[in-house]
Point group: C2
């Protein structure tokens, strides 16, 4: 073993042919584990000069009763709903929360993790930034035995619990609704191509089209960086091309609202000429005119579930084996897509 290398739980697990969470439980002296197994793991850890006990001990002794939360941005209604759900749940269970936002920046996300970890939070709830494509920073805290889970923007690379919403199914629901209204030439206004939700919602979009006998050839995807300026520009370019769809599905409500503003400026009737739908169910979507058809994401409930699950793990009510929770979305039909009464 090279000098200065810090032994990870993963390496111990590999040597013994057990799972990482079994090693983790042995380190935490969990009563669920057979004493022989526990001894075998602890002995191996010692022989490998693994440095966990000290941190684990201090975590167990001096619980701060604080959870750390990292979200990409706070101005988003969805993430602030997540936080409300996390906070209400944590508070009921005697915990406070400290929040950091990554501003969609990978570097800021790493800095946030350092900050919250040195504040000795008992655990972390993390939603990844748009820029995060590598995961050493998460692997590092995982290896150090710092409890955390991920929500909404997650990665499969790290074996911790994850809570997501069913993006593909939500997109399927809303595009199927547009098809049910008689639309056949439906454009998808997507965020950046490599974004997880861009892809997932496209899956649902294509699935609904396929169900109505429309192939991928008959789909049409416009990309935007999600800024009001680009949303506007892409809409204008689409209109100027003369190749008009009979419906637009926008990846998130704010894009749909920006599209709506341009269509109205150009005198295009919604939904008669172009039907419109979004995704998120922001408060704004109910008050624009026409009111916006969208998909409701259970942001508050996601926060509640995330906090309860992490606290259940911390308090050893449930084992800390990684679990995946997928929350369902619901269609919210409104006037922007109502072609049939």
């Amino acid at each position: 073993m090279k000098k200065g290398h810090q032994v990870t739980m993963k390496e111990i697990a590999k040597k013994l042919g057990v799972s990482v969470s079994t090693v983790s439980r042995a380190m935490k002296d969990s009563p669920e584990l057979h004493p022989d197994t526990k001894k075998r793991i602890v002995d191996m850890a010692k022989s490998m000069n693994y440095q966990y006990n000290l941190l684990a001990q201090s975590l167990r002794i001096s619980r701060s009763k604080v959870l750390g939360v990292i979200v990409p941005e706070l101005t988003s209604h969805f993430f602030s709903s997540n936080i409300s759900g996390i906070q209400d749940t944590a508070y009921k269970r005697g915990y406070n929360i400290m929040i950091c936002q990554s501003n969609e920046s990978f570097d800021q996300e790493k800095a946030n993790i350092r900050t919250l970890v040195s504040s000795q939070v008992d655990g972390l709830l993390i939603s990844l930034s748009r820029e995060t494509k590598t995961y050493e920073h998460l692997q590092d805290i995982f290896d150090r035995g710092i409890p955390f889970i991920m929500f909404d923007r997650v990665t499969e690379e790290i074996p911790v619990s994850k809570i997501t919403v069913d993006d593909a199914h939500g997109a399927y629901l809303v595009v199927k609704h547009l098809l049910d209204q008689g639309c056949r030439k439906i454009a998808y206004f997507s965020g950046p191509e490599d974004l997880y939700i861009s892809k997932k919602r496209k899956e649902g979009y294509l699935e609904a089209l396929a169900e109505y006998g429309l192939s991928e050839k008959e789909s049409k995807v416009y990309f935007t960086d999600l800024t009001p300026e680009m949303n506007r520009q892409v809409t204008i370019e689409m209109l100027e091309s003369g190749d008009l769809p009979d419906a637009i599905f926008a990846m998130i409500d704010p894009v749909a609202v920006d599209v709506m503003i341009v269509l109205k400026e150009k005198g295009i009737k919604i939904p008669e000429q172009i039907a419109l739908a979004g995704f998120t169910n922001n408060p704004t979507s109910a008050v624009v005119e026409p009111s916006l058809t969208t998909v409701s994401q259970p942001g508050y409930e996601m926060g509640q579930l995330a906090a309860n699950h992490l606290l259940d793990q911390l308090e050893e009510i449930v084992p800390d084996d990684p679990q995946s929770f997928v929350l369902l979305t619901t269609l919210v039909p409104r006037n922007s897509s109502k072609k049939k009464s």
Copy 2:
């Protein structure tokens, strides 16, 4: 001196007839102070058995490079703009921020302060909860020499720097605009009566009325707890009373939007029958129909100023004498009040 009593800087200042910030500077060994003054204060502090140096020393030695921020709620566009301004500024200057929300609860606010202080943040930026009516928790951290400033929701009771927006002037501007449009019977939809901004905005409302020769008798204030349910109910009761105004000024945009929905449901034309205006310039206000006349608050700039000022104090670029900054608001006239072209 009674046993167990912790001596405060205020008491030392009183004994010596100097200001609290002078004592604070002596404790921090500031080069701005004359050595004789410094010695006199330090001697007095010692004789009174004042316990500051230890904490101050440790703060100075182990700077965490983290600022703590406490806001009443994160779902508010205004506070999330504040936070963006604080974070961008802090990040540029090499600091990270940790955020807690009080959920408008006094107890939660106290818990947030405890949490952030035990995380050893270098300083705090605090916006008070709606419930906060006493200030021992702030006096306590002030006496312990923990650097902090207040923004938006502030109190005059604690001698630290404060950053606010000119609420009264903003309300004056928008009500004067309604008067300029020919409205003479203007109702004010106010939040809870004892809320600072309810009062300040009422001041501006009455000032504008007075300028047009309308006395307080000709004003009409409706109170709501700011929930959508009560905003709706108050509007319906006003309509059913038959005593209709020709304009409504709502204390915040979300109230104006709720009022707008009811007026439209009842077939009342905006602005022809009732003109409408809000305050805050939320993103929603630009996309409702008719677009909402409102007052723009510089939330992001407030955050920038707050963070820069606190960091200037921490880094001793400016003395930590309390200062008051008042940011100006601007009228954003839109269609909901446009009676004249």
